[in-house]
């Protein structure tokens, strides 16, 4: 046997081997390229997640709406979702956002276009369901959160986002807005870049101004009003910050550029509105009586905008003074304090704590941040219950907190009247059939019949307990607690003292 080194290969063979080696490295780099490309896919996947809520809505639409109505059969929810995005983005352009009624009204019209035989009420209901679904009302309006595989990080990640945000505006009215992600979903379907949103916005405005009729002028005035309100809001925020923490406000960086910009905007608006008012006055003088109403309305709107701008201008001019007053605090000799700052030293550390840790410290935090509280006790049984609980707690058996006593509202409030009536009728029927029964037997029977929900059975229990406690209110029933012979009366109450179902006898009342 000879080793390859003893017997060198002919040159052609070496070339061939090099060729193989070359093609192998090329293959590797090609694979590497494919892998990198695959890593880039994460971006696409992330963007695709934004459409999940819409696709889920389309997929689950047959289950939505009242039972048996098939509200969404034949309705294209994808189209309706985008129609809604379109409407909200338009409202964001000319107003502070879209009002719920406005969205529902607009969408109901679209629903009607697709399915004309749907009643007005059901069109509105379908619209409402679409809006709520895209606000994630299924999960109490929390952000959507979807998992995906991030190829570059090689781990599973969660993307949380909202498509539509409901928030209270400066005028204390709630309005819907498209979020950054909402715009991305909407504009990506229009094949536009998100960054172009601003340009689209400006283009639209320009187009409206170019047309130059008064209706458009009113809309432009409306838009300016929106910017004014936004400025007013920012100014308020700045004053709020200033009043709270003057040490962290930088005049040159935070305040001056903002004031300059705001002042320029407001002055330009006042001037422009002045011109518009002048033109309008001439127009009103010349026009025939029939058309005067509309013009007068427009005149009033612009005049109102102008006075709002003047007020804001006054506020901005007075801002310097406010800053100086607030700043006087900085000249005082700082006290030596061993306390931490609540906002920038304590709150962020608390916010970084895990939910688990916060939860376990919540009692301590509540105790330390509140005045002493006096526990309320309403009847002697409650005292025994507290003693019993405390006893268990001391022995380390209790996992729940000591039960402090609070005034209970009528527990039946949680049930709909219809359920209460149904369960009352059912109990009547059981007692009539059995003559005498106990609560446990009624519950078992109701479960066996399989026609009541857990909530309905719970209502039955609440009703029985309440009627047992207050026989005057029981409609034709008599409740009695069966004594347990094994039960001993000790200071520590055992559970059998309480009603537990099988010891509550129900019979026809006298």
């Amino acid at each position: 046997m000879t080793s390859p080194s003893d017997n060198p290969l002919p040159a052609t063979q070496v070339d061939f081997l090099n060729l193989i080696e070359d093609s192998k490295s090329k293959e590797d780099s090609r694979l590497e390229q494919i892998k990198t490309k695959a890593d880039d896919l994460s971006r696409q996947v992330r963007n695709l997640l934004l459409l999940y809520p819409l696709i889920r809505l389309e997929y689950e639409k047959s289950r939505l709406g009242p039972d048996g109505l098939n509200l969404f059969r034949g309705l294209d929810t994808l189209y309706l979702s985008f129609a809604m995005f379109d409407y909200i983005s338009e409202c964001m352009l000319f107003d502070l956002g879209a009002k719920r009624e406005g969205i529902i009204q607009h969408l109901a019209k679209e629903v009607k276009r697709i399915k004309p035989r749907l009643s007005k009420k059901n069109s509105a209901l379908a619209s409402e369901i679409i809006l709520d679904q895209l606000c994630n009302n299924k999960q109490n309006h929390q952000s959507f959160a979807f998992d995906y595989f991030d190829a570059q990080k090689e781990s599973k990640m969660t993307r949380s986002f909202r498509l539509i945000l409901f928030k209270i505006g400066e005028d204390d009215e709630g309005r819907y807005h498209l979020t950054k992600e909402g715009f991305a979903a909407y504009l990506s379907m229009l094949e536009l870049d998100t960054n172009m949103a601003q340009e689209v916005d400006e283009y639209l405005i320009q187009k409206l101004i170019d047309r130059g009729n008064f209706e458009d002028a009113l809309r432009v005035a409306g838009r300016n009003r929106k910017r004014t309100i936004e400025l007013k809001d920012s100014l308020k925020q700045k004053i709020f910050k200033l009043n709270r923490d003057i040490f962290n406000v930088d005049w040159q960086q935070d305040i001056k550029p903002f004031l300059d910009q705001s002042r320029d905007h407001i002055q330009a608006r006042i001037k422009e509105e002045g011109h518009m008012l002048e033109n309008l006055t001439d127009e009103i003088d010349q026009i025939e009586v029939d058309n005067k109403d509309n013009l007068l309305k427009l005149h009033d709107t612009i005049h109102d905008c102008q006075s709002q701008h003047r007020d804001l201008h006054k506020d901005i001019m007075g801002f310097n003074e406010k800053f100086l007053t607030a700043q006087s605090r900085t000249f005082r000799t700082p006290r030596i304090s061993n306390l931490a700052n609540l906002e920038d030293e304590i709150l962020p550390l608390m916010g970084k704590k895990k939910v688990n840790d916060l939860s376990s410290q919540a009692s301590e935090i509540t105790a330390t941040m509140n005045m002493p509280s006096i526990k309320r006790i309403f009847d002697p049984l409650m005292i025994l219950s507290i003693i019993d609980d405390q006893d268990r707690e001391e022995q380390g058996e209790s996992e729940v907190e000591v039960s402090d006593l609070v005034l209970l509202n009528n527990p039946l409030d949680r049930f709909e009247t219809k359920i209460i009536q149904e369960m009352e009728a059912y109990l009547q029927q059981r007692v009539a059939a059995e003559g005498e029964t106990d609560l446990k037997a009624v519950i078992l029977q109701a479960e066996a019949e399989n026609r009541f929900s857990a909530e309905q059975i719970l209502c039955l229990v609440y009703l029985s307990f309440q009627w047992y406690g207050n026989s005057d209110r029981s409609p034709g029933f008599q409740f009695e607690k069966i004594a347990n012979k094994k039960q001993k009366l000790t200071p520590k109450l055992s559970k059998s003292v309480y009603l537990s179902g099988d010891n509550l006898l129900i019979k026809r009342g006298e």
Binding site: S160, L347, I365, T368, S373
Partner: protein
């Protein structure tokens, strides 16, 4: 004489336990406070009675006596059971879990305090200037959200169990408000803040006023003193996990607990 001293001391402590006891309307309270400010023996006796009840005297002035539970073990310590109604699960299967609700209550309480008293300087401000500054629910929400925005990155998060997420993430995922919301609940931020603010108002730590800008709250002297002498120190310890709490009172040692 001794019995009289004990009677008067316990009477003053009792008045301190009433959330809205007012010296203007209660002459006995006013006299007891005057006595306490002038007589050291009486003051010692008041301290002792309070300590025996697992309470600490935070401040005594002509405006009133401010007490605080000596620790969370005290029977006078306000527990989360005050928020029992809000903490109870409802029939909604998507309701937040109990841990998240408890965490939300804890963070919101700190954020409200930070809204009125952002710095140590504000807590030390004895000329009441700071007490004249109001804040609306919206402002409290701003403070809470600023904190969350600074902590929670825009980046996607690793997939982890909800209880291992940061409190700030929990708050950020909540909606600001809900359409058609009638009763404040822990399901949205404005609701959570309103619940806590109303409670603070009920216990005399905030005053609510209606202005042209809507409802606003003003902090009271009581709130400022409680935070300054008690809460901030304890919160600092909790932030850094120095979690030892005094279980039994050590006689005349309250000052150590007052963060002084």
């Amino acid at each position: 004489m001794e019995a009289d001293l004990v009677y008067k001391s316990s009477r003053l402590v009792y008045k301190g336990l009433l959330p809205k006891a007012n010296t203007e309307k209660d002459s006995e309270y006013k006299d007891l406070l005057k006595l306490c400010l002038s007589d050291h023996d009486f003051k010692d006796s008041v301290d002792a009675v309070a300590e025996g009840l697992m309470l600490a005297v935070v401040d005594i002035s002509e405006q009133g006596i401010i007490l605080t539970p000596l620790s969370s073990e005290s029977r006078f310590a306000m527990g989360l059971s005050e928020y029992r109604k809000e903490l109870e699960g409802d029939s909604d299967p998507q309701d937040m879990d109990a841990k998240a609700k408890r965490g939300l209550i804890a963070l919101t309480q700190v954020a409200i305090a930070a809204t009125f008293f952002p710095t140590a300087e504000d807590l030390d401000d004895d000329d009441y200037e700071v007490l004249g500054k109001s804040a609306a629910i919206k402002d409290m929400n701003t403070v809470l959200m600023n904190m969350c925005d600074n902590i929670v990155s825009e980046e996607d998060q690793e997939l982890i169990a909800p209880s291992l997420k940061m409190g700030a993430e929990l708050i950020k995922a909540l909606p600001e408000t809900l359409p058609n919301a009638k009763v404040p609940t822990l399901k949205y931020r404005y609701g959570a803040i309103t619940i806590i603010a109303k409670h603070l108002e009920k216990s005399g730590m905030l005053n609510q006023q209606k202005t042209s800008d809507g409802e606003v709250y003003f902090p009271t002297y009581k709130y400022q003193q409680l935070l300054k002498r008690r809460s901030v120190g304890r919160l600092f310890d909790l932030c850094h996990d120095y979690s030892q709490t005094p279980k039994e009172p050590k006689k005349h040692d309250q000052k150590g607990d007052n963060g002084e």
